[in-house]
Symmetry: C2
Subunit: 607 residues, 2 copies
């Protein structure tokens, strides 16, 4: 695949690079006396210089002969250098920032490239929205390589989104320079069942010689996984068990071991590596979703690397998993992923392999961050006005909208069994819990004693007025309500709460501000993050966003929830491509059989 993410294509600078390597022309930059993390041979090499010209590496060795009058010499003695970190699967929107501010947040942590799937904005605003984000990204040094969203809606027929993607849209986007592949094919059911729609998208990607990325989230590693991989899906970040990751690697699929803000799969998945004596070239480390607080406090892939090492993965192997292994996964290892001649000069400076603290960051031969601070600057991105108008509910929401009537014939005091979505802290999965609720005022209500809350999803793209109704178990809140327009992947308006008045307040607060995340209690807004851009993002930077999110997390705690990043877990309640039970604007979905199911469990069923 032609690499469009470089200062100049290699074919335009081979002669200059040869001149510099030979000392006939001086380098633009020389890094002196570093300890090189050689990801090709998995060694540390001492006292290595790197000479750079045209944004590419010309020479690795003792580079005194490459230094001229105008060469910028960087003393790296005592430091380690590694290839720029590559994140093989991420969604920028999870940071609640635009791609430009996201870049400013992650580049100082060593990230030189991301393979991003902008499927959140695509669900709301379509490929036109994606283009807006790409425009913002292009201004930054970060290599923001797009994989076109494949599943909009995530699971067709089960929800309403603001947009639609099919084989034709995929085919069109594959001709864009910034697109390197297909975004996570969440419709693994469609792939495994050979549906025309899912395969149509794979076909368009394969024909364009680009990479299909995956999402295979069930603990099945036999027929289904084989069918999925045989269809051309090159990588998958949805393993939650070590045996899933191992099975994928054995079947030649890149296992992208995930450690995001709220999905902490890596410690479990690391056992695939540490408990088996295997070649790890098919392992990647990815973040998937990282919220601004994590970016500000912990970092990005540097943080994931530290976790990997803590889990027992040897540090050089771990670094391979965010460099050459990722580049090879995307068949771009001829351009990215190693500090070797001809490659883009994307280089992380680390103070040590124990701390893995990034002290300086170079992309395309330019120092772009130092001591945690991005050095690139530009005016705040001017999002076009139209992206800030994405709340289309068509009406004011009232407390009455949240009444759940008891089934016909049920009397006050009767027990009614319902299907509840039981969340799992720090995991993307849910369980289907069967809960007995007591009829009160002819209604089913939130029952704090059982930690069960009413949950609603209002369609917000086309004023269809459709609403999904269910119950969620496990948040631990004692009062108030929460709402969010970040509600994967359709990003309809999701409301969870203890009482109807607060739920209506939460919903209307977001309707007014163009979307966001809010916590209310007793008629008062306790915390609010406005996300006016598609209801998903703000144009602020990471520190400001982190503060805002933190204040909302405090509000969560105030009403009783102590989970890490509860908003991220809540936001997955509607995501019908993950097991087991989900709620969309069209209703409750059993995501193991992909069927709508009733809220009420009939007596015949529960026997």
């Amino acid at each position: 695949m032609i690499n469009h993410f470089c200062k100049k294509p290699l074919w335009e600078c081979t002669r200059v690079l040869a001149d510099v390597a030979e000392g006939r022309r001086s380098a633009d930059v020389v890094i002196k006396d570093a300890q090189l993390v050689n990801v090709c041979t998995a060694e540390i090499q001492e006292h290595i210089d790197v000479a750079i010209a045209e944004g590419r590496i010309a020479y690795v060795g003792d580079a005194d002969h490459c230094i001229g009058e105008h060469t910028h010499v960087i003393d790296a003695s005592g430091l380690f250098i590694a290839p720029g970190f590559l994140d093989g699967h991420i969604h920028v929107e999870s940071s609640m920032m635009g791609a430009g501010e996201y870049a400013r947040a992650v580049v100082p942590h060593g990230t030189s490239g991301i393979y991003w799937d902008p499927h959140e904005i695509c669900n709301v605003l379509g490929l036109e929205g994606v283009k807006v984000m790409m425009e913002d990204a292009e201004r930054t040094p970060l290599k923001a390589m797009v994989t076109t969203p494949s599943c909009v809606p995530a699971v067709p027929g089960f929800e309403d989104t603001g947009s639609f993607i099919g084989p034709q849209e995929i085919a069109e986007s594959m001709s864009w320079d910034g697109v390197v592949g297909l975004g996570e094919m969440m419709n693994f059911v469609g792939v495994v069942n050979s549906t025309e729609h899912a395969h149509g998208e794979l076909v368009e990607t394969l024909k364009a010689d680009k990479v299909v990325t995956g999402h295979y989230s069930i603990p099945e590693t036999d027929r289904g996984l084989n069918a999925y991989i045989a269809s051309g899906v090159r990588c998958c970040h949805e393993s939650t068990r070590a045996e899933d990751a191992l099975a994928k690697m054995r079947l030649g699929q890149y296992a992208q071991l995930r450690y995001g803000s709220a999905w902490h799969d890596l410690p479990e998945l690391a056992h695939a590596i540490t408990d088996n004596d295997i070649d790890t070239r098919f392992a990647n480390l990815v973040s998937d979703d990282t919220h601004p607080h994590t970016l500000v406090e912990d970092g990005h892939l540097d943080h994931v690397l530290r976790i990997a090492v803590k889990c027992g993965i040897p540090v050089i192997e771990a670094i391979q998993m965010v460099t050459i292994n990722v580049a090879t996964c995307f068949r771009m290892d001829n351009e990215l992923g190693s500090i070797t001649p001809g490659k883009c000069a994307d280089i992380v400076f680390l103070d040590g392999l124990d701390t893995l603290q990034v002290t300086r960051m170079m992309i395309d031969g330019e120092i772009v961050a130092e001591n945690g601070r991005a050095l690139f600057d530009y005016p705040r991105f001017q999002f076009p006005e139209w992206v800030t108008h994405s709340m289309h509910l068509g009406r004011e929401i009232t407390p009455d909208d949240f009444i759940v009537s008891a089934p016909e014939g049920a009397q006050d005091g009767d027990q009614v069994n319902v299907r509840a979505i039981e969340i799992i802290p720090a995991k993307v999965g849910t369980f289907e819990a069967h809960v007995g609720l007591t009829v009160e005022d002819g209604q089913l209500k939130s029952e704090l004693g059982q930690d069960v809350l009413k949950t609603f999803v209002f369609e917000r793209h086309h004023e269809t007025g459709t609403v999904g109704v269910g119950f969620t178990k496990g948040f631990g809140i004692k009062r108030g309500a929460m709402a969010s327009t970040v509600a994967h992947d359709a990003h309809n308006l999701l409301v969870v709460g203890t009482n109807d008045e607060d739920m209506a307040l939460a919903a209307n607060t977001l309707a007014k501000c163009g979307g966001g995340m809010v916590v209310v209690a007793d008629g008062e807004v306790l915390g609010l993050v406005e996300l006016p851009i598609a209801g998903l993002m703000n144009d602020l930077g990471a520190v400001e966003m982190s503060e805002k999110v933190h204040s909302v997390e405090q509000a969560w705690a105030e009403i009783g929830c102590t989970m890490p990043s509860p908003f991220m877990t809540m936001a997955l309640i509607p995501l019908a491509c993950l097991p087991e039970l989900r709620l969309t604007n069209r209703g409750l979905v059993d995501c193991t059989t992909f069927q709508f199911v009733d809220l009420i469990i009939e007596e015949s069923e529960s026997e």
Copy 2:
């Protein structure tokens, strides 16, 4: 890069593969109960089945559910299966056979794909000759992936060839489906020195997103090697020292460890692996040049694998070096190089990992060889008439053509110092030896006491009448003469001998039969291999060719030479891209400085 070497492109069969994996449709073939050499994780997996459809792997596991009425079930219990072997750098012409017969010789030894550089025929007959060979290759199941010859002539300005390749020819060939890259860029001097011609060819290849293969044959691993790799050269098979191979791998270049019929570099190069604790993903095993006798007696990559294991390389790592590592080098690992879903069903059956004997061979899901015998058959390839007329000397050669006059002023009995090409058995390199010859009859003659022989190269493509004159040391023959039109890479007429009459007889014998290799003594032809196709190949099969070559090797032995494959060593005498001293039709070339040098060493020089 789109893979044109498959039964069907993946995008045409993803749904069928998913159907088979899921058991909705029966497989064409199921391999039962094998021990799988998993090159992704570097493990052996026991009791593995593989289900195949459309020439591709649909499922790996327990495949009973894929077996239908018409499924061909292959019992592999007790056997190992590995991905088809890929040779990352070979010249078919060295086998002295066309590509079709070559395929019949190597496929039974486990080879499913070759990255071949048809630069021998290209030197004689240009890209039209290459096309003829490709036509022959296309009839076979062997994936014969062409890298377009880059250096025709090998070192411009130093010899005359039958053809010329420049950036324009490269650009044209890059659009051919059968072309996957650029053939060995032997003009490393041009690359390192940033010449327009050499870089022009690199540029056309890189623009087409194809792979540049290398040839960096000097023991320099610093500035020059960096310049060479920075220019985009992805792999190199010319390491002769372990430190060369190690340096290349560290610089992100695939080190192709060679073991051909006459170039036995692997035992030395294996130390790069066995003496260092390194990741070996950048190592390949290649054959480069294999003559028919080796193919018949020892095999192809199976033989190289056995040597690698004997040298201490762990067997699974060695197998990675002829499978996934090669596919990754050519950025085709999404299609080839592992037994995983979606890949071409190219599978070697081995009786054991100790013997590495290939018992059966599958390509694109079809059994194509069994117990050493190719199962594919077709009429002998009809080479077009014009390829058999390549001897254009323009005259009869006489014994007087071989007189080397002593320098002016030298008297009979005087010592004259000359530069002689000293061959190194089983290596591609030569030394520049300085030899004192005694003037006799006003001439310099072959001196058997010093093992020094007169050596001539006659231009044979355009009747220019140019002749290069030199001396060779080291063959050990005691009488007679040898001639060959296999004389790399220009393939002019090379004659080496003890006396002028036999030298003339050898030369004219080849002129008459359209080219070949001959040994004569005392006015008699002792051994002859006719190679009428471009003076390089015959249309016979491997066994017949092996017998012919064997008879010529016996003739060599008869006149005193006991080297292995002496013809292959002799054929490199004119190859001006290898150190140190070479003889072309234009004269003696110092291949370390790339300058013509005089045969006679002036007294001032020798002081």
